[in-house]
């Protein structure tokens, strides 16, 4: 009968639906069950191949899987860790790295200089398109591993690069290798702390110079932890302790990196007790965070630098007095207190004061809030009556840009509007095309704790992130002299002199230095985060 069969159909459809929804039990072994294991929340990493990792999520996981050549002490001076000693010649051009003996990868292979040399060659080779390849720029021979696409976006293919291996890397013996730089650089020891310089085991390569396609799903490293299973995309990465690790042994036996798509979802899990550490409390929850977490909410400084660039190619901003006046018209403390609820600190210098040799208040009077003086200076310098601040809306910047505009309006009596563009890329395209975008919202984090990591890419004429077109040859030569200086102390002195030029010229408006605002559950203790926004996996411990 048609009636009965309809109902049978409907009933069985509903039953199948429920069955489908219910089945697929958790076949995943619960790593929380492993004693002494903690969970840390991250966003989905873009890559777990060391030379391709330039963002903090991948970097966190790699910090557990690999052991770096150098680490930094409380004053941000480097000291050798996986390396036994790092020596250089008088000119700071040829560096001899001697590895600590007895270390192995988690698959049993011993760590030798070949592992470093192969990894660095892979990262530097242009066609491998590794995101971190620019870190190898200073090594002699880097230019030969790159190729230029002859017609940009056109259909012609780029020619193969002249070489596949860096000229400046030479193996001396199994535990020693020499790095020759193309220019003297006293700070090289700090640079090699970064992820891109991690070694790769022979098992990572399918053939010479060709990485295994699946290496990034379960990297094999020389660190205190090894992968347990593979990287489960959008869900988690599980690592467990390596037996007999020769270096510093972490206190916890395993870490589950839980991958979240959204910081708010992470926060919900943290408060409910399903997650042990959240590395960045979202701004929407900052207000309730101290109530929810109490003293499990902590702050440590990070190296993030928030600023606004002046388009010096535009006439109306060419007069440095206009820029100085704008700088004095802003109340940085009010912004960090009210808009960021203390999650960031006001910036009164162009380099994070955490970096060795940097001063916290190099900007001096020009970064102090002084509306009367600002207005005087602005009118006498004939500043524009209409100001625009352009930013990318997908970064959550609207609130503070509007606040900044309000401050400028109140202090200088000029019109100020915030203009939102959908993405950073759109903004950068407009700047590259020299359009009238007004002030440009930009941000920066350092690659290594040297002043040069801020001064170089942001302010030298050929700096990779010098979008606003600032050019000053004295500044350029001071930075270069600093890089070539025989000791880091002398380098820092020269870099401070360079920064003084920036204070005079004010090519950008320094606004804020970031802080890590993080929270942790009652299960863990001794939680701290470093300048690179990474949790210190060596000190974190299970609470008694």
């Amino acid at each position: 009968m048609p009636g009965k069969s309809q109902w049978k159909m409907a009933a069985s459809a509903a039953a199948i639906a429920l069955l489908a929804a219910g089945c697929s039990g958790s076949s995943s072994d619960d790593t929380e069950a492993l004693p002494n294991s903690i969970s840390i929340g991250i966003l989905e990493p873009s890559s777990l191949v060391p030379s391709n990792s330039v963002e903090v999520n991948g970097s966190q996981v790699l910090a557990a899987l690999f052991y770096p050549l150098v680490r930094f002490d409380a004053k941000n001076s480097p000291y050798p860790v996986a390396a036994q000693s790092i020596q250089h010649d008088k000119a700071n051009r040829v560096w001899t790295i001697k590895l600590r003996p007895g270390f192995t990868f988690s698959n049993g292979e011993p760590v030798t200089s070949d592992n470093y040399i192969d990894a660095w060659n892979y990262g530097a080779y242009g066609p491998n398109a590794q995101a971190g390849s620019y870190f190898f720029k200073r090594i002699d021979g880097f230019a030969d591993l790159q190729s230029e696409d002859p017609d940009g976006k056109g259909p012609q293919k780029a020619p193969e690069p002249k070489a596949k291996k860096l000229r400046g890397l030479k193996k001396v013996d199994n535990l020693t290798f020499k790095v020759t730089l193309s220019e003297d650089f006293a700070g090289w020891q700090s640079v090699i702390s970064y992820d891109t310089f991690f070694p790769l085991p022979k098992a990572a390569f399918a053939s010479d110079g060709v990485l295994n396609k699946d290496f990034g799903e379960a990297p094999i490293g020389n660190g205190p932890f090894k992968m347990k299973g593979k990287w489960v995309h959008d869900e988690k990465v599980v690592v467990e302790q390596v037996a007999d690790f020769k270096g510093t042994v972490p206190k916890v036996a395993g870490i589950t990196w839980k991958i979240y798509q959204d910081l708010n979802a992470q926060y919900a899990d943290l408060v409910a007790g399903n997650l042990d550490v959240e590395t960045k409390i979202p701004i929407e929850n900052l207000g309730s965070a101290s109530g929810d977490l109490g003293d499990r909410l902590a702050k440590t400084p990070s190296s993030a630098f928030g600023f606004v660039g002046f388009p010096v190619y535009e006439d109306k901003y060419k007069n440095p007095n206009v820029r100085r006046a704008l700088s004095m018209a802003i109340n940085r403390e009010e912004m960090t207190d009210q808009v960021f609820l203390g999650a960031e600190t006001p910036a009164k210098s162009f380099v994070s004061p955490r970096v060795k040799g940097a001063r916290p208040n190099s900007c001096g009077e020009w970064c102090e809030y002084n509306p009367t003086r600002a207005r005087q200076l602005y009118t006498s310098a004939n500043g524009p009556r209409d100001i625009k601040i352009t930013y990318n809306t997908d970064g959550g910047h609207k609130a503070w840009v509007d606040a900044m505009c309000n401050q400028i309006k109140a202090s200088l009596g000029v019109n100020c509007t915030g203009v939102g563009l959908p993405k950073l890329r759109v903004l950068l395209d407009k700047v590259r095309a020299k359009e009238d975008v007004g002030l440009i919202r930009l941000g920066w984090t350092m690659d290594y704790p040297l002043m040069e990591s801020y001064l170089g890419p942001l302010f030298t004429s050929d700096g990779s992130s010098n979008y606003y077109g600032y050019e000053n040859s004295t500044f350029d030569s001071l930075v270069r002299q600093g890089s070539a200086a025989p000791t880091t102390t002398q380098a820092e002195k020269l870099w401070r002199d360079a920064e003084d030029i920036l204070v005079k010229d004010m090519p950008v408006l320094p606004l804020r230095f970031g802080q890590n605002v993080f929270g942790y559950s009652e299960r863990v203790t001794d939680v701290t985060m470093d300048l690179y926004q990474k949790v210190d996996i060596y000190t974190i411990d299970i609470a008694a």
């Binding site: 620019y134 990034g216 950073l424 979008y467």
Partner: protein, 308 residues
């Protein structure tokens, strides 16, 4: 009927290619420099750009790229997203949890909507009717961007009745809260359609006859009225399943479920052209198949309808 099905299948193929072509063209036109998002705040080096261009054929003209894509599609290779992951792998990981969530949500919504709708339809203007209408109005008025985090906060954190997030392998209990939230998207319309359908059928001649024959009211409603009233509702439910599968973007985001809706949203936000086109292609197929099934079901349920 058979000829009808064949005709529909052929139309599906045409629609599929047309739809994916449009999406492809839109993503191509919109995307200028998709690599910036991979680099973050700094700009890409020239060599990186060259390497990525070669890998994704971005140097070629539009039709060459589209041809590469179609070739891959016909051999089952959906390509790689800009982060290097094969899209077919991402799809196979994202679909199961979305299907489970959508089915669960639909079952809950359908049971609630049909049950309450029938009762409201029978006693129109009564207390139950007014209360349910007001409730559905409230639920309809609250946008899901408010409802989802609120539900998570109240039921997940403060009351602790449900876990606040769900993973890919979530069991029924973990999916209950997200399914409830997702169900609110469709329960209001289904309830009202059921209600008006029942109310209309109660005035039909055959119901008067059945009552006059002396049949028990339960049988009149439970067997005769219900069977006829559910026809529009079932077709609505069928279409809602498709809508829920792709539209669960907010719910999946708030509850951290790595399903189709979330991946699509991420692909659009990061201008990951291959990812968006790959996922949308599969979604188009799902929609087309569901529509076909719903139309066929309509013919099965209502004998007055005949296709040829």
């Amino acid at each position: 009927m058979f000829r009808y099905i064949v005709r529909r299948l052929l139309q599906m193929v045409l629609t599929f290619f047309g739809a994916t072509f449009v999406v492809y063209a839109l993503m191509f036109a919109n995307v200028d420099d998709p690599y910036q998002v991979l680099a973050g705040e700094r700009s890409l080096t020239e060599s990186q750009r060259t390497g990525l261009n070669a890998r994704y054929h971005l140097d070629d003209g539009f039709f060459t790229q589209y041809w590469h894509y179609v070739k891959g599609l016909l051999t089952g290779d959906l390509g790689q997203s800009l982060t290097g992951r094969p899209i077919s792998e991402m799809l196979s990981q994202a679909w199961p949890v979305t299907i489970r969530l959508a089915l669960f949500a639909i079952v809950i919504a359908a049971v609630v909507a049909v049950g309450a709708g029938v009762l409201s339809g029978i006693r129109r203007g009564g207390a139950f009717d007014t209360v349910t209408l007001v409730l559905t109005l409230v639920v309809l008025a609250m946008p899901i961007v408010v409802l989802a985090p609120l539900a998570q906060l109240v039921f997940g954190i403060q009351l602790g009745w449900f876990p606040p997030t769900a993973t890919r392998d979530a069991n029924l209990y973990q999916l209950l809260l997200p399914a409830l939230v997702l169900g609110t998207l469709v329960v209001a319309t289904e309830l009202r359609v059921t209600r008006s359908s029942v109310a209309e059928n109660l005035r039909a001649d055959y119901v008067r006859t059945a009552r006059a024959k002396g049949l028990a009211p339960k049988r009149v409603i439970g067997v005769h009225v219900l069977r006829n009233s559910l026809i529009p509702v079932i077709t609505l439910i069928g279409v809602d399943i498709g809508a829920l599968m792709s539209g669960a973007v907010v719910t999946e985001g708030v509850f951290n479920i790595p399903g189709v809706g979330f991946n699509l949203f991420r692909g659009i936000r990061t201008e990951d052209g291959p990812l968006v086109v790959g996922f949308v292609s599969v979604l188009v197929i799902v929609f087309l198949v569901i529509n076909l099934i719903v139309d066929l079901l309509y013919a099965v349920l209502d004998p007055r309808i005949r296709y040829e």
